[in-house]
């Protein structure tokens, strides 16, 4: 499979990424100018945590942002919901 080099990607996508950062910055400015207090907003906290992921040194940023914005999975959900298991192996 053809893979672009890092230099190719930054050349191709710098302006696109720049525009996205500006959109985010303008959204934060809009919030700043608006009346009302959202300091305790869960959505604002999530956005802030998401932006921290963008700035840290770890990889897998898209996946980590997705998981940050997701409800947690509980492996024991079937028992908690009392769902009838369908394991019919051997039947």
């Amino acid at each position: 499979m053809h893979e672009r080099t890092a230099a190719q990607i930054i050349a191709d996508e710098f302006l696109i990424a720049r525009a996205k950062i500006l959109e985010l910055a303008a959204t934060l400015d809009r919030l700043d100018r608006a009346d009302g207090d959202i300091e305790n907003s869960k959505q604002l906290v999530l956005l802030s945590q998401g932006m921290q992921i963008l700035c840290d040194s770890e990889s897998d940023k898209a996946k980590r942002v997705q998981l940050l914005m997701s409800r947690q999975y509980e492996p024991e959900w079937i028992e908690k919901m009392a769902i009838r298991r369908r394991d019919v192996e051997g039947s």
Binding site: R4, Q66, M69, S70, R71, R86
Partner: protein
């Protein structure tokens, strides 16, 4: 380039859209049954909808040289009405011999509730009983990760299910690995805001390879773009990917998957 859109709700689109799709290279569509934007009141509403999917839409598509296939179910949003869901599931076999029905779908979860899970399992029973392929809807946004894991638990807890005959749709960066590594097919939905962009889909193809992976527009009555697959083709071309790789994702893979159902005859 010729392509197949494996997930497109044409009942919500105009005839002009069929013409545009044909001009852009679309040769076949598969249309899963879904939510109409409101909860339907009776089993007869679904019977009429299934007539539309199995009779009217194939004729409309054929005017533009597009093959139309479909999947039948009651969707997860309406599964909270368990009584109606069971009536619909009991009625579905009336349509399973229609010449464009590929299987049961798009079944799945929406808000990951007990009723949704119960009706999902009853759809699995139906698919197994009639030897049907399965197309699965995974939830949106914050519910997707939890719901996808729950769906996989139910599928993998049932030894009757042939994983190579199940397509799990709307995968994103945090769910694709779970789907592929367990032997299922995966679909990436190119959908503004709430799902995946052509750029992120191309990233996932680069990262996970083309094996058992396809892309769809899931065009419907909401903000969506029925011609999103040509956008993915363009993105992959811009990145320098080969025609063979692109064709594998947008044509060969859906063809291979659908060919496991008898009615699929394209190509």
């Amino acid at each position: 380039m010729e392509y197949i859109d494996p997930h497109l709700h044409m009942v919500s689109r105009t005839t002009d859209d069929y013409e545009t799709l044909a001009r852009m290279g679309c040769v076949a569509i598969s249309e899963p049954a879904f939510w109409a934007g409101f909860d339907r009141g009776s089993v007869d509403s679904f019977r009429d909808y299934f007539r539309q999917l199995t009779d009217f839409e194939p004729k409309r598509a054929a005017q533009y040289g597009i093959s139309h296939y479909t999947w039948l179910c009651i969707n997860a949003k309406e599964a909270e009405n368990v009584t109606l869901s069971r009536e619909v599931i009991a009625m579905i076999p009336e349509f399973l011999d229609a010449k464009n029905v590929l299987g049961i779908g798009e079944i799945g979860l929406n808000k990951n509730t007990r009723n949704e899970a119960t009706i999902f399992l009853e759809h699995l029973d139906l698919a197994v009983k009639y030897n049907q392929q399965i197309l699965i809807h995974t939830p949106h946004l914050e519910d997707k990760y939890q719901g996808t894991r729950m769906i996989l638990d139910m599928l993998m807890g049932d030894s009757r299910i042939n994983r190579s005959r199940v397509l799990v749709d709307h995968v994103e960066e945090h769910t694709i690995e779970h789907v592929l590594e367990n032997g299922f097919w995966a679909g990436m939905t190119l959908y503004p805001v709430s799902k995946c962009t052509p750029q992120r889909a191309a990233d996932m193809i680069e990262r996970y390879g083309p094996e058992r992976l396809m892309a769809n527009s899931a065009g419907d009555w909401g903000p969506s773009k029925p011609t999103a697959i040509p956008d993915l083709i363009m993105e992959m071309k811009k990145r320098g990917h080969s025609k063979e790789l692109i064709r594998r994702v947008v044509y060969e893979n859906p063809k291979t998957f659908f060919s496991q159902s008898k009615p699929f005859v394209h190509g």
